[in-house]
Symmetry: C3
Subunit: 468 residues, 3 copies
């Protein structure tokens, strides 16, 4: 029986078991590729995907992601159709992503989408009858890069558990980082955040690590044993002091502990209006001369534009070209699993999504109630608006602190009021939601604040009690 289609819009759409299953499969593909056809070096391909067609729909420039997906498909004997540039596509005529993927799903068996808007991949998946893979959507996520990163770490270390991974640079705008920190947290690694000034991890990502992935936050220790504000430790499943990320965090790390990997990322100028602080951290031989980095893998998703010095290329710790080299076998494995090639059942039984899949889904008309507060979310794209509604998951992982999470870009709304369309009452005490029946939940409408609710003729009160 044909199972419903799986989509990979977030790294959290894959379970840990599935991820390690993909790694096993990638290793077999890697072994095949590295068995060259003599006398010259031609990588050995296979025919696992013979007859299948991959489409790449890229609304943002890309070399490595698009070409590595295409190479992966071709190395398996599959075929590729490609729209490399929105300027050469129907977007120039004003066509929505939703319509485009509906049409292209007739041309291909699996579609990779890259788009400048957060949440675009999830929207595409909503309208697509074949698997959609997120090739990077705005500042949201880039799950296949994370698969390459994890695979690299996995080959270099015996276990993710208690691995110390320092992450430097633009933690705010880098979709690569967002997928990575979720995955590291879920696999039990410790994360040392070393953001550039003003480019800290978004609070909704940070809070999600803390509230849903059981991370404990602690300032990194300085040499003299005192807590430092220079970096922050995110420890998965460890009973540490709870701490919020400090304001004005600096870029240097003075922790005494061993660092297993330093993950560097470029300034995402296309997401920030192009201005960069001259304090943007540079990783070079001097930075890495500290003893705690003596065995650290130096990683980078590439491209780099100055933040990782070229002189490191010949350093034995340099791992970034190895990461890139795994792009093809990892994507071969993911495509193979998604399409069930060679009778692979890896992604058949799992019903998709990490915790949010169990969350209550709230479907708000765009013209009423609350809207996603992320200006770059796909729901605010005028071309897509006829195809999206304001949809939220209601997250209640921490009692008394319910959140609304946009199902597209996964940005959270922490402060809102809830009204009842029947009783016309609203309250800021959102804890009452937990007391609601599922019938009552369907009557709920969410507003930004009291003013918004009052403007719609709701009165303050207990939404569940018509009388009061």
């Amino acid at each position: 029986m044909v199972k419903p289609t799986r989509h990979i819009a977030s790294i959290n759409d894959l379970s840990k078991t599935e991820i390690t299953g993909i790694f096993d499969l990638a290793q077999t593909y890697l072994d095949t590729l590295h068995d060259p056809i003599l006398p010259y070096r031609v990588a050995r391909s296979c025919d696992a995907a013979s007859g299948a067609v991959l489409a790449t729909l890229f609304y943002e420039p890309s070399t490595r992601t698009r070409l590595s997906f295409e190479s992966a498909m071709l190395r398996m004997g599959g075929r590729v159709i490609s729209s490399a540039d929105s300027g050469a596509s129907s977007a120039a005529k004003g066509e929505s992503l939703a319509d485009t993927v509906r049409v292209v799903s007739n041309y291909a068996d699996v579609i990779v989408v890259r788009h400048p808007r957060d949440g675009a991949a999830r929207l595409a998946a909503d309208y697509c009858s074949v698997p959609v893979i997120n090739g990077g959507d705005g500042s949201h996520e880039h799950p296949t890069q994370t698969l390459c990163d994890l695979f690299t770490l996995n080959k270099r270390n015996s276990s993710f558990k208690n691995l110390n991974v320092a992450i430097s640079g633009d933690l705010r705008g880098s979709r690569t980082i967002h997928s990575l920190v979720y995955a590291l947290a879920r696999f039990g690694a410790n994360i040392i955040l070393m953001p550039a000034k003003g480019l800290e991890l978004p609070s909704h990502v940070f809070n999600r690590l803390r509230d849903e992935m059981h991370c404990r936050m602690t300032p990194a220790q300085s040499e003299n044993g005192h807590a430092s504000i220079d970096a922050l430790y995110v420890t998965a499943n460890a009973p540490h002091q709870l701490s919020l990320i400090p304001e004005g965090v600096d870029i240097h790390v003075r922790m005494t502990s061993r660092v297993d990997a330093v993950y560097v990322t470029r300034f995402q100028k296309e997401r920030s209006g192009g201005k960069i602080e001259n304090t943007y951290p540079t990783v070079n031989a001097e930075f890495l001369s500290d003893a705690k980095y003596s065995n650290a893998s130096v990683m980078h998703p590439l491209p780099r534009v100055g933040e990782l010095d070229q002189s490191m290329d010949t350093d034995k710790r340099a791992t970034y070209f190895e990461q890139a080299a795994y792009g093809v076998p990892i994507r071969m494995a993911l495509i193979s699993a998604l399409l069930g090639l060679q009778n692979n059942h890896l992604l058949k039984s799992y019903d998709g999504g990490f915790p949010s899949s169990k969350a209550l889904s709230i479907d708000q008309h765009l013209d009423a109630g609350i809207q996603c507060q992320n200006a770059n979310c796909i729901v605010h794209d005028t071309l897509e608006q006829p195809y999206v509604r304001s949809k939220f998951s209601l997250i209640s992982s921490v009692p008394e602190r319910s959140k609304l999470r946009c199902v597209y870009c996964e940005t959270d709304i922490e402060h809102f009021v809830v009204g009842n369309v029947e009783t016309r009452k609203f309250t800021a005490n959102v804890a009452q939601i937990n007391a609601a029946t599922s019938r009552q939940l369907k009557q709920f409408v969410f507003f930004k604040d009291d003013q918004a609710a009052l403007a719609r003729d709701y009165r303050s009160g207990d939404p569940l009690n018509a009388g009061r």
Copy 2:
């Protein structure tokens, strides 16, 4: 024996028998594609085109046409080379289409051309040793879209005969519509024209339907039985009152008859300088609530940009995504027939072209005599001018009313004078052409009007009689 190459620049390059033959072939490809490879959905490909190469040369943006052609070739085991964007091609260096196709015909077995100029596909065909398929040329034609449209109608209805097809929107600039109305007329369907204000069917298309495809024109009937100016009925092979399309035709239809299909098309802003009337017709649930539309297929070539409401997507009458889904099997069938794959003889014996193929061809040097009056015709492209001459077919389907039809863009010239290079006489009485011998026809030169002829030192008189 290898037959001369067939090209598909117009839907009229295919006979009705050939079109239905392509439908039969497309159905077998569709059945194959829809027989998925289990356990997951991978469409079943074939190897009919194994070893063959398709080139797509697109001088205008496209997603669906280019990708569906490429998918079609790949699903048959063929290969694809692609120039998706003139900005990335030799056009940036100022190379003509004529030279480009001559060169690319060495690289591929069949070439699909899209170009902003009317008639570009015919020019390409003139210089190409392998089959050229028109992927859309200016406002002229888009024959493969029409094959998808007809195939869709054919599956949904028992016969084209007396099918009532209403066509709404930009009938002037839409190449899709021009191919479609020719095909509908030839297959005996009735066409209800519902143009946006100022975007009526070009007069040369209208007159060709009337004069050469035996259509009778009648104003659509209003509810009270009176003729309405709101829409126009084009009835193939029916003895109705002859009528020209009225000036200022409005967009609403108040006919009482059953409509079998409503074909909606977007405003072609790239062909009209971008301005759009705010009376551009929108097809939505309200419009379609009229009883006569209760069983109408709602069709659209896509992309849509507002003229077809998204709320229709879940309506059972919505047929536009079905149209798009047939893009691949239809194009598989066309390529297969053109290349004679699998010993297919469908397109072997027919010598190409609809009525114009029997017309006299008039070859005028660009620097003398009459020129095509369509400013967007490929003959006026400075890059192509060294490669084109002013060539016309002499159409005499209605006695006393000969026309000159540009062989590239198929725009007609109805008013002209004819001179004889030997007698140096000219006349406006073009009926005399019919009396000429074929030797005399070779001596004819055509001018825009008396002034143009006099300016070239021709005198008024009987061109066939040197004495007078």
Copy 3:
């Protein structure tokens, strides 16, 4: 045993034996392609490259070079990944070519690079673990076009020896011409230079023909037996009068000798700021009516933009579309030889490079000593600067006249001074270099002139003698 990778950045990276070996191989591919699959014309492909992947990385627009490489790979059963436009690639994010090829070498078995900078292909080769083929780099070289040109000449003539090849147009900016004149000289053809005014062959190319490829330069003879300044004869291996190319050389040729081929090239406006003299030579029927051209093959690398009249297309001497037709089989042969497909050993044993491979390599830090004086050289590209050093070959083919040749763009520096980092002495008498031991050579540093050396605290003297 797997041999080190060969790269083709210059036509001089191939020996004459290898070039003729490629022609033999190309002929077998051509025979296969021309054996069509009946009943219709589908070129016959093969599966020599089955499973192999070609990447095209094009930082400049191209139709014929990119598509002919892609077709070549596909006709051999290989696969292609393509970045047709730097606007759609990581270059938009500011990634260097060096990093890009390092990454893409994981995705493909062979990479074709086109780039606006001279020497870009050599830089790419330095960072690439798979073969790099130069698809055109700035004004430097275009070796695969030259292979097509030579193959065409070879088919039309019994021998290159004493073949008279006239070359007309932009000899300065045309990379095609630079590769061609090297090859013609090496194979013993005579070259008649007919540059457009101000667009003469660059002096370093001219001098290299003279000094390293044993050409003798002589003014072409006019009708009256006197030397003409209208064209220049470059005679390989012939004991003629040595002559420099005259200033203000005109475009007409009035030589009495037989010309076997006229090679026409367009003005390279993208390399010259777009201005063109109205004296740019046009080759048309009148020009070719001179008796000496009566059997000349008229050649052009295409695209043409006016310098070669379309009326020649039907002339039996027109050879340019034949050149283009050989693009696919020639590139099939080159790829096949580079990858050692079908156990081909053609390019296995040769260690790469023409004379420069035996030259001393001088490695200068960019921040010290002399730099390449070609402003368009890849070493001056800010994106690439972290990846390049000022590297020169020391060319001493003519005694007392040593030159420094940039290893990237191969532009020569004829005037410089040499210092010794140990003795801190420098001299303009570069002949002393020949007396140096290899240990002393490693101590040499090169400066532009006395001032530059003095500014770095070097003193005038014998660099090899610390005492003086």
